[in-house]
């Protein structure tokens, strides 16, 4: 008995000593680096970030899922200890995809809600309205949800960073695929007549030498019959489409009505299979659905949304099982990059410190197929894409390697291996 008690006391005192040592260590750590209110929007317990999103209006279907998905990831991080003990508060406001509303909502976020940074504000025309303002106010403007190369302008907009692969790089890599795998076929273009479509065409034109027909549309006119008829008349056997989902669906339906069956090559933003299937069914009143998507060529800069075996997809789907589509994946992946960036900025970040961290820390290990391009001279996110093909069951399979490029440089094959997420799903 006595021996036992002695052993127990020894064991207990050892534990006690261990505890005391651990406590001392913990104490030492917490006194030397306490959380301070190091910048607007940062307190000892909170990081407040803001965004403008099309929660209502013409761009809402699909895109309105992005911010809630990003928020789901932030809540996951918060539930697992947050970032240096701080919880992330994500304050996203509706702008209805109206640049004037974006302008006033952004001022509300900066002046009244006093956010530390803007994150993933959505849309090219909408965000162009506030990019000067945010840079004048020196508010970090991270990971704009648009592939316009206008966000990559460090000299005039040092606080703004893009995230997704820009449309010109995408156009180049799609153009290269057509040259290599669909050579000898007549090619036609169908593109949105704004920065998005025109940037994509810029990339395509660097690769393709002859184009049978160039057709564009404006999102306010839903009749695309003249354009699709012109493509058909030109004899184009391949149609490259830089279109938003609604117009990809309209183009596919119009072509089907005209018995025109080219090979469709559709840019990433306009090719999300669940979104398109829903739109095709809706527009045709149930007459057709996802079968029109079979054989469509597209590209991806994130793991394929239908690839359940991919560890990133498994992680994000575990955090939010439904709804699950490309928009949800997009929001979560962008939120992951944000947590990487804010961690890189250190325990008590400042606005300038966050920008400096993004420019100097080589961010790696993100969810993208291609590496991040952030540096002091480059504010572009993912540098490349991988071509993919939609099968009969609606699932995509990748074709060939990942390619990277810049707006004017050569296309290179990317040899790096894709990263896997850390086991707790939070960047270290």
């Amino acid at each position: 008995m006595n021996i036992q008690i002695n052993q127990m006391t020894t064991a207990m005192s050892r534990i006690a000593i261990g505890c005391a040592v651990a406590l001392l260590a913990a104490c030492g750590q917490s006194t030397s680096t306490a959380n301070t209110a190091s910048a607007p929007g940062i307190t000892a317990s909170e990081i407040k970030i803001g965004s403008t999103q099309p929660l209502t209006g013409p761009a809402a279907p699909g895109y309105s899922e992005i911010a809630p998905a990003a928020n789901a990831y932030f809540q996951y991080v918060n539930a697992h200890g947050g970032v240096f003990g701080r919880k992330i508060t994500y304050d996203y406001l509706d702008d209805g995809y109206n640049p004037t509303t974006t302008s006033s909502a952004t001022r509300k976020l900066v002046l009244q809600d006093k956010v530390f940074a803007m994150f993933n504000a959505l849309g090219t025309p909408t965000h162009l309205a506030v990019v000067d303002y945010l840079n004048t106010e020196k508010v970090p403007d991270l990971f704009v949800a648009s592939g316009c190369n206008c966000w990559n302008d460090p000299s005039t907009h040092p606080y703004t960073f893009g995230w997704q692969t820009d449309y010109t790089i995408e156009g180049k890599i799609l153009g290269q695929y057509i040259n290599q795998s669909l050579s000898g076929k007549k090619v036609g273009y169908f593109y949105q007549n704004d920065e998005f479509g025109l940037d994509g065409v810029k990339g395509l034109d660097q690769q393709l030498t002859s184009v049978a027909s160039r057709q564009n549309y404006v999102p306010t006119n839903t009749n695309v019959t003249p354009q699709i008829s012109a493509l058909q008349a030109s004899g184009a056997q391949v149609v490259v489409s830089f279109s938003i989902p609604a117009f990809t669906a309209l183009a596919l339906l119009t072509a089907a009505k005209l018995h025109y069956n080219p090979i469709w090559v559709v840019s990433n933003v306009g090719s999300d299979v669940p979104t398109l299937t829903g739109l095709l069914t809706k527009f045709s009143n149930g007459a057709v659905g996802g079968q029109l998507l079979t054989g469509m060529v597209t590209d991806a800069y994130l793991p394929l949304v239908t690839d359940a075996s991919n560890p990133w997809i498994a992680l994000f789907k575990h955090i939010q099982p439904t709804p699950w589509d490309g928009n949800v994946l997009y929001g979560m992946a962008a939120a992951y990059t944000f947590v990487q960036a804010i961690k890189a900025a250190g325990q008590n970040p400042t606005r300038a410190g966050l920008v400096h961290a993004l420019e100097t820390t080589k961010l790696t290990g993100g969810p993208g197929l291609a590496p991040y391009g952030y540096s002091s001279s480059n504010h572009l996110g993912f540098l490349g894409v991988q071509v993919a093909k939609i099968g009969a069951d609606g699932s995509a399979t990748t074709v060939g390697p990942v390619y990277t490029s810049s707006d004017s440089g050569p296309i290179n094959q990317y040899s790096g291996t894709p990263a896997t997420p850390p086991s707790n799903g939070i960047p270290s």
Partner: protein, 359 residues
């Protein structure tokens, strides 16, 4: 031309000095107020002042002259695009840009006013609606000039150095907009008290009777349209400075309808009604937006709740105060007065709608 003759004559009347005194007092109060509030509140204050300019102009046309316009958002667009184009590559002072933009909108208003003077009721509403739908499309059609959907950016107005380095630009644009709004109100208030204003009302109340009394009905209507368009142009120009961007989506049909709903909610035909309407226009969406996000609702409901509440507020306001906020307040005052005066008064709280200044 006759307008200006009458304006100059009215300079000598006590009406102008009274209006000027009121405006000066209001300016000082608002300046003090704007210095006490945060930069975002200043930004909203500027928005109210800008909408006051547009809605007083529209109220003159619709409430006083009886011509409904569903196209005033497009006339604001003319002012805003004039400003953006003038400032493209030139560093012109605001004091030149505002009158130039105002003139551009007045010219478009004159052309459209000639057509509008021939139209009545639903046809006039239809024609002005066509203006609201059609005009912003020009910006997308000729995108090399007007910047397409992305629009044209406008550099913000920087406050003069003597106000200090920390002076927020939002407060400066608020001061400019308040000054412009008060000047507009003084000028229009005076116009309403003059014979021009009386002719506007005569044409609204009975065109045939007005014509028999020697009033040129068509000319009066065109004049009202031009004055109203000039106000919309000034508001549009300030709007461009305020938002930093001129894009077609900022001047859609929704804006035109909002302006109409503001004067109806505020009170048709009165200057103060336009002020009330503009306050509702700016503050109700801001409040409902905050309400929706604090309720923690499913996104499909929460996203659309602000619009729903805004609609409900409009419906309730129409039911409670059918003559607008201004009419409701006047009725309250009249009732209170009647109560104080006791049974001796036979005033039943009836408001004289034709006498907005109450004089």
């Amino acid at each position: 031309m006759r307008v200006s003759v009458f304006k100059w004559r009215s300079l000598l009347t006590p009406t102008l000095s009274r209006h000027l005194g009121l405006a000066l007092a209001a300016f000082i109060v608002l300046l003090v107020l704007s210095s006490q509030i945060g930069a975002y509140d200043d930004y909203n204050l500027a928005a109210i002042a800008i909408f006051v300019i547009a809605t007083t102009g529209l109220n003159l046309l619709t409430g006083v002259n009886g011509q409904l316009s569903l196209g005033h958002g497009a006339l604001m667009a003319v002012g805003a695009y004039s400003t953006s184009l003038l400032l493209r590559g030139h560093d012109l002072p605001l004091i030149l840009v505002l009158p130039a933009s105002l003139t551009a909108a007045a010219l478009v208003g004159a052309v459209f006013g000639v057509a509008a003077a021939r139209l009545r009721g639903p046809y006039l509403a239809g024609a002005t609606l066509a203006l609201a739908v059609g005009l912003p499309q020009i910006a997308t059609r000729y995108s090399h000039v007007f910047g397409g959907e992305e629009g044209l950016t406008v550099a913000p107005q920087v406050a003069p150095a003597w106000l200090g380095a920390d002076f927020p630009p939002e407060r400066w644009i608020a001061w400019i907009a308040i000054a412009a709004a008060l000047i507009t109100m003084v000028l229009l208030g005076n116009l309403l008290q003059s014979s021009v204003g009386r002719r506007f009302k005569a044409v609204r109340d009975h065109e045939a009777a007005a014509a028999l009394a020697g009033i040129n009905v068509a000319r009066t209507q065109v004049v009202a349209f031009v004055v109203s368009a000039a106000c919309a142009g000034l508001a549009g120009s300030l709007f461009a400075y305020w938002s930093g961007l001129t894009a077609p989506s900022g001047f859609g049909v929704a804006l035109s309808l909002q302006l109409v709903s503001a004067i109806v909610i505020g009170g048709l035909g009165s200057l103060s009604g336009a002020v009330w309407g503009s306050i509702v226009l700016v503050f109700v969406p801001a409040l409902t937006g905050g309400m929706a996000s604090s309720l923690n609702l499913p996104s499909a409901v929460g996203n659309n709740l602000p619009l729903l509440i805004y609609g409900a507020v409009l419906v309730v306001a129409m039911l409670l105060v059918p003559y607008g906020i201004d009419g409701g307040l006047r009725r309250l005052f009249a009732l209170a007065r009647a109560r104080w005066a006791g049974a001796a008064s036979n005033h039943k709280g009836v408001v004289d709608w034709d006498d907005p200044a109450g004089g």
